[in-house]
């Protein structure tokens, strides 16, 4: 059946095998392109790596020169009867081959910093993660309650949302200089940039999610005698929790995109410092490795949170997993017994 189904059908899911194949390909296509450009000499390779300088006075062995320059010099050498230079085609230094970047993943962690007192790569990464964490935590501490209030009460919505709508168009990096003037040159202004980048979006996203809660649930709770504060704590908050969790995952991704800008503010630190440092030394494979590391950390955090979410909100799952039953026994009401997760007709 599945093999006969169409590859192209609007809003139809593919078989799990095809999904897997396509997921693999989504990574293979860019990586394959990169490999092709790196390892196939006649694709691009606009430079010549000099192996024999010949009689060209300024060539140095191992140097990269542009192909046109190389050919030009050799023509001059040929016309004057001097010894020709030789070399092989190469890519520019800013495009290292995949295997070099793969090596760098390991090497970057084991190479000690050039100067004493400078952080190792893992220390830089850890510093970046802390900046993200605090920026996101401070933003959420204020943003989540405010978002829920705006989504629940028209008063809060009218009082805050118009200004927030305006403020979210102000680019967070624009506050860099101000943040340094007010908060100094170390971590606080960086955290402030992440905060500004996240907070205003957070209020709007969460208030929207709150508004999406079925009003019939609130009315049902009212007819059951729930008071206003109970409506908020016992209906609105638990009702939006799974969606709120999803929002927070998306917003955390948002916070990551502000990381580099935030770390440029004041004294450069964290992974940004590492990237700039390595590019200064022209060790571009380390630069690529560091950028990819950010992606890997971001994606794996998100996948972990997605996995955790499935078990935190067992009612959103029609099938109960072992882990959620375990969590439910730990934190759920006592003397609950596991039940068969089957749909039963009356």
């Amino acid at each position: 059946m599945a093999s006969k189904s169409k590859w192209f059908a609007i809003r139809k899911e593919l078989s799990s095998k095809r999904r897997l194949i396509l997921t693999v390909f989504s990574f293979l296509i860019p990586i394959g392109t990169w490999c092709a450009v790196s390892y196939v000499p006649w694709l691009w390779h606009p430079m010549i790596e000099i192996e024999d300088t010949g009689d060209v006075s300024y060539f140095r062995e191992g140097r990269l020169v542009k192909k046109e320059v190389f050919e030009n010099e050799n023509e001059i050498m040929a016309s004057t009867g001097k010894r020709l230079a030789s070399g092989k085609r190469a890519n520019p230094v800013f495009l290292p081959a995949p295997h070099e970047v793969v090596n760098a993943f390991y090497a970057a962690f084991t190479t000690p910093p050039r100067r004493r007192g400078e952080p190792w790569l893992h220390e830089s990464l850890w510093h970046s993660i802390q900046i993200i964490f605090w920026g996101f935590a401070v933003s959420s501490f204020f943003g989540v309650p405010l978002g829920i209030l705006c989504g629940s009460y028209a008063v809060f919505s009218r009082l805050h949302e118009p200004f927030v709508e305006f403020f979210r168009y102000l680019p967070a990096p624009a506050f860099g200089a101000l943040a340094v003037a007010i908060l100094g040159i170390h971590d606080p202004p960086k955290i402030a940039i992440i905060f500004i980048g996240t907070f205003f979006q957070q209020i709007l996203v969460i208030s929207n999610t709150t508004r999406k809660l079925d009003v019939a649930l609130i009315e049902a709770a009212q007819t059951l005698g729930a008071k206003p504060i109970q409506l908020l704590t016992r209906v609105v908050v638990p009702g939006i929790l799974p969606d709120l969790y999803k929002d927070m995952r998306i917003l955390l991704g948002w916070a990551w995109t502000y990381l580099i800008v935030a770390e440029l503010v004041g004294t450069m630190t964290g992974i940004t410092w590492f990237i700039y440092q390595q590019s200064k030394y022209r060790i571009y494979e380390n630069v690529y490795a560091a950028i990819i590391m950010i992606g890997i950390i971001g994606l794996s955090t998100d996948l972990f949170l997605a996995w955790l979410g499935k078990h935190l909100f067992p009612w959103t799952q029609t099938k109960q997993s072992k882990v959620s039953q375990f969590l439910y026994r730990l934190f759920g009401p006592v003397n609950q017994t596991a039940f068969a997760p089957v749909k039963v007709e009356a």
Partner: protein
């Protein structure tokens, strides 16, 4: 059908005796001069006009009417989810202002809290009125037993069928021990077979619990099968057209759907809700689009 039908107001002595007894009971719901006017961009729309009605203790009242007659507005005002423009609603002699635990409500849409199990859903109202957790739990389990879902006490609503969800909703509303149970087309989303079953469940519950039921439906059979009296509303503006005493004896059973008094009342209700001048709309101006000789009937 050529059987001579009785008039719908003809009541056998037993039925008449039952209505006399019913009307001697305490008035639980007293609706006085109820009006509801909606302000729209194009002016005012009168949704409900001058409605007066009394329901007696443990009476089963059905409200029917054409679409747009304000049935839903009516029940929402009774629940306290909407406010009348003028007039008032008294429950047990107390004027209604806002929702309260003395009036339980079952909605057409599924309104069980998806994050709570069946048991926790039924406990919700009890916890709101400051019952202790253990007391709420034991009471909730009794109500779950009453609707026959004890096996599913720890299931989440999404794991239940539509009929079971509405049974939980009924248990949840009743657990608060309300004086009145308001039901807004509660079985409207169910398939015919489940609906039939739910009607019989509901009557069993009603028989065993001290509760007055106001039940909104657009299904005339359902209203006659369930109700002591049927409140017929008409549209534009929503006014009381007639209050019909259903002459079908109790206890009711599905065989009575074809009893003469049932059919007579149904016929009368039909003429009230679907007036004759609407009948010409029954035939569609359809062109023939198949070959002659290719007949289906």
């Amino acid at each position: 059908m050529n059987v001579e039908l009785p008039h719908y107001t003809d009541q056998t002595p037993e039925v008449k005796k039952r209505f006399d007894e019913l009307k001697s009971r305490k008035v639980i719901l007293d609706i006085q001069n109820l009006n509801r006017v909606f302000e729209t961009g194009d002016g005012e729309v009168v949704a409900l006009k001058n409605i007066n009605f009394k329901a007696y203790r443990r009476e089963f009242v059905c409200v029917v009417g054409p679409s747009g007659c304000g049935k839903s507005t009516f029940i929402r005002i009774l629940a306290g989810l909407d406010e009348p423009t003028s007039g008032q609603v008294l429950v047990d002699g107390n004027s209604v202002s806002g929702p309260g635990p003395d009036r339980g409500m079952v909605f057409q849409r599924y309104t069980l809290f998806p994050w709570l199990t069946v048991k926790q859903n039924v406990m919700f109202g009890l916890e709101m009125s400051n019952h202790s957790k253990t007391e709420s739990e034991s009471q909730a389990l009794q109500w779950i037993d009453l609707v026959g879902l004890e096996k599913f006490a720890n299931a989440y609503p999404d794991q239940l069928s539509g009929g079971m969800r509405q049974r939980v909703a009924i248990a949840r509303a009743l657990a608060n021990r309300p004086r009145i149970l308001l039901m807004d087309e509660p079985f409207g989303a169910l398939d015919a077979q489940t609906r039939c079953q739910m009607q019989s469940y509901l009557m069993q519950i009603w028989r065993n619990v001290d509760i007055t039921i106001v039940f909104i439906t657009h299904d005339l059979d359902e209203s006659l099968y369930l109700a002591d009296r049927v409140l017929v509303l008409k549209a534009n503006p929503g006014e009381v057209q007639e209050i019909i005493e259903v002459p079908v004896p109790r206890p009711r059973n599905p065989d009575q759907f074809v009893s003469p008094e049932f059919l007579a009342t149904k016929k009368h209700l039909d003429t009230l809700i679907h007036p004759q001048d609407d009948e010409e709309k029954d035939d569609l101006p359809i062109m023939r689009m198949t070959n002659v000789g290719d007949e289906v009937e």
